[in-house]
Subunit: 432 residues, 2 copies
């Protein structure tokens, strides 16, 4: 073995002219008689190794010919600046060692069906588009934590296992909790609301579960959701916070994920154009506008995906649709004092992806909330602890939910949310 | 109503001499004939309002007398510096408004039993010790994200719902996944390992589940676990990373959570003394040392909690115990080349709390891993995807698991992990 200092590809620029060892996986090789090339990925970047037959031990040259896709190797040699190479550097190889073989690697440089790729998700993760998408996910996740940390929010982890029944019992997964039924949370909102009197501004951010028999490109059965909640904030404050967050995420990704957006061939002009204030339109005005544009939507019905798409095309930026009919929204939303047929809520819609965020001011009046719970035929005793928030010092408060995978799909311009999570769970998929 | 600019208690220092409005919850009141006091918590801090009967509208003075614990109020008046007041400021009240009543608030300023408090967890969160503990949790959580972000790790969210059976099937919760059995993950490790060839350094950090029929003060059935994994890192590198992380968390909490540690009456001398390098002792030497100190432990048995406690007392800092017998550890740990009876793993033990971290180098040899899977009678086909990591470019790698709640309990010096999570799930508790 002929190892020099082990270095990450990311920091090769600091080692030009020096001999280093790179540990990584072979993406491809080629050779032309007396000169050979190997592209190695080490998880921090790609580097090209250049091998000259005349200058290498015979065994090492022979090894080059036998290297297969995804075998792991140690590559030693001098770092050279080479603007044409991926990453801007190449290595003049003086030593090559096989660490781990790789025979018949399943994912070949050709088109595979998506079911095949999902069956091999643990290997598909190594592919360039998947790496880029998941790196953007990572950046967005940290950006969300930073945004709220810098604004003095307290992170509150809400429970996954719960004995209570949430807003739509039909889409809950049931688990066995020492012989009792438990349900996997499809929202942390009700819990996170209770932390407002302790910390004023809070958020939860974790996995949520929806047992929806849905196979669209926008749905996962397990996904990460951000849910901030702010005491003494009304529906307008809530929309401003959403606007600030979305602008922050866009800027952050443009600034720090430029390389990944390039790999993903994301046209960044759309993203660069995003700025506050976003457009705002009431549900009632949106229905009128949609009807004018040919939709058959009638007042009182929820907006479907085609209506949402049509609506976003009328605006040059993300659009808030606010004050939906009470009947199509959740029981906890604040009745609109100006029009009791509606509630003080909003969806934030973006082009091609539809709803990015759903938010609302919460019903803070105990009696009105009880009426709504009874109207929806929800079990009142199960919500006793939630009602306590209105019994002991009730307060105006608002919050929203943002799905991480859909947000990352939108930011990266990728069609499928299933590629925006390391191990997607779909109606027909629980493995690997 | 007599509102001025709504201000958070946290920033009263910027408003001395000005009139502001504070929105919050009443912690207590008292009055002495012509002067009254009200302590209001607004989620960012506590402030004292001073009311003079002669200078207040009669209704507002009357309101003071009727204010009850946890009612919500708007308090308006001039901000004054007052070093003796909590937070260093008080408000000369010129207006007081009741926002939400609070009759017979269940948690009184007296001792309550823990079951009662857990039944009222949604209100208990408002108490000062609970607020302080959960703020430290928040700080530690952000610190963990920052530590790994700054070191170029990529966050990989591993699935909760899984069809595979993990290391100890007896402690898994089972869920119904569209008619098929699914299990709630008790570790993300196997999944996070697969992301190493994509990103080199990765971590997962999310809820994990253990269906253990355990009622100790150190166990939860649902808790958050951090699991980093590093390609081309061996067991020694792994311990150094753990050391760096723990020192970082200690420094960060000392620096940014000083107020909370004071509320929690944490003696910080212990924490200030923590510095790398930590003590290191092999399992074999630890057994000898424990036997000398009177333990009946024999080589080959796992260390129990009493042995761990006895051992930590022999060192003035956290101690790594490494290279445990293979038979008491998980199947995926790397066989020790120097002594095949043991594996290259470590626990990190701290005084009074025992195991803070468990880590290991992973078995990267396909044949040895298969032998271990068969010895443990695990279903080989279920681990096929995990074995693929050894089939296609295997590599040395290591990682560890750190439980968030236990870490926060240790940092804050609180005995019970159940107070370190907003809504604890225990063997007999799934609500609220």
């Amino acid at each position: 073995m002929n190892q020099a200092e082990i270095t990450e590809v990311r920091s090769l620029g600091d080692h030009v002219g020096k001999s280093v060892t790179i540990l990584g996986w072979v993406e491809s090789t080629r050779s032309h008689g007396k000169v050979g090339f190997v592209i190695v990925r080490d998880g921090t970047g790609l580097v090209q190794g250049v091998l000259l037959k005349a200058e290498l031990p015979e065994d090492d040259w022979g090894l080059l010919e036998s290297l297969t896709q995804e075998c792991s190797v140690a590559l030693t040699g001098e770092v050279r600046a080479e603007p044409r190479a991926p990453g801007g550097h190449e290595i003049g190889v003086t030593g090559l060692e096989l660490l781990g073989a790789s025979e018949d690697y399943p994912i070949q440089p050709k088109e595979h069906g998506v079911e095949f790729l999902l069956d091999h998700r643990h290997l598909w993760l190594r592919s360039s588009l998947q790496r880029a998408g998941l790196r953007v996910r990572h950046e967005v996740q940290q950006a969300i934590a930073d945004f709220f940390y810098d604004r003095d929010f307290v992170r509150i982890d809400t429970p996954i296992l719960t004995g209570s029944i949430g807003e739509s019992a039909g889409t809950l997964f049931e688990a066995d909790y020492f012989g009792e039924p438990a349900y996997l949370a499809q929202t942390g909102q009700l819990y996170v609301e209770t932390a407002c009197p302790a910390f004023r501004k809070v958020y939860c951010f974790g996995p949520t579960f929806r047992a929806e028999k849905s196979k669209t490109r926008r749905h996962l059965t397990e996904f990460w959701m951000l849910e901030p909640e702010v005491a003494f904030a009304d529906s307008d404050d809530n929309m401003r916070l959403q606007e600030d967050l979305v602008c922050y995420l866009v800027e952050r990704v443009l600034e720090r994920s430029a390389k990944e957006l390039e790999v993903l061939e994301r046209d960044t002009a759309d993203l660069e154009a995003i700025a506050a204030p976003f457009a705002r339109i009431s549900y009632t005005d949106a229905v009128t506008l949609l009807q004018e544009k040919g939709s058959e939507i009638e007042w009182g019905r929820d907006l479907g995906a085609p209506d949402e798409m049509l609506l976003t095309e009328q605006f040059d930026r993300p659009v808030f649709v606010h004050d939906y009919p009470k009947a199509v929204k959740a029981f906890y939303m604040k009745e609109n004092p100006d029009d009791p047929r509606t509630v003080r809520c909003n969806d934030l819609l973006v082009r091609e992806y539809g709803e990015l965020i759903g938010g609302s001011q919460r019903e803070d009046d105990l009696d009105r909330l009880l009426v709504r719970i009874r109207e929806e035929k929800l079990p009142e005793d199960v919500y006793s602890w939630y009602l306590d928030l209105r019994r002991y010092g009730t307060f105006v408060h608002s919050g929203f939910g943002l799905g991480l995978e859909r947000t990352v799909a939108w930011l990266t311009g990728r069609p499928h949310v299933r590629e925006m999570i390391p191990y997607p769970r779909l109606m027909n998929r629980l493995a690997p």
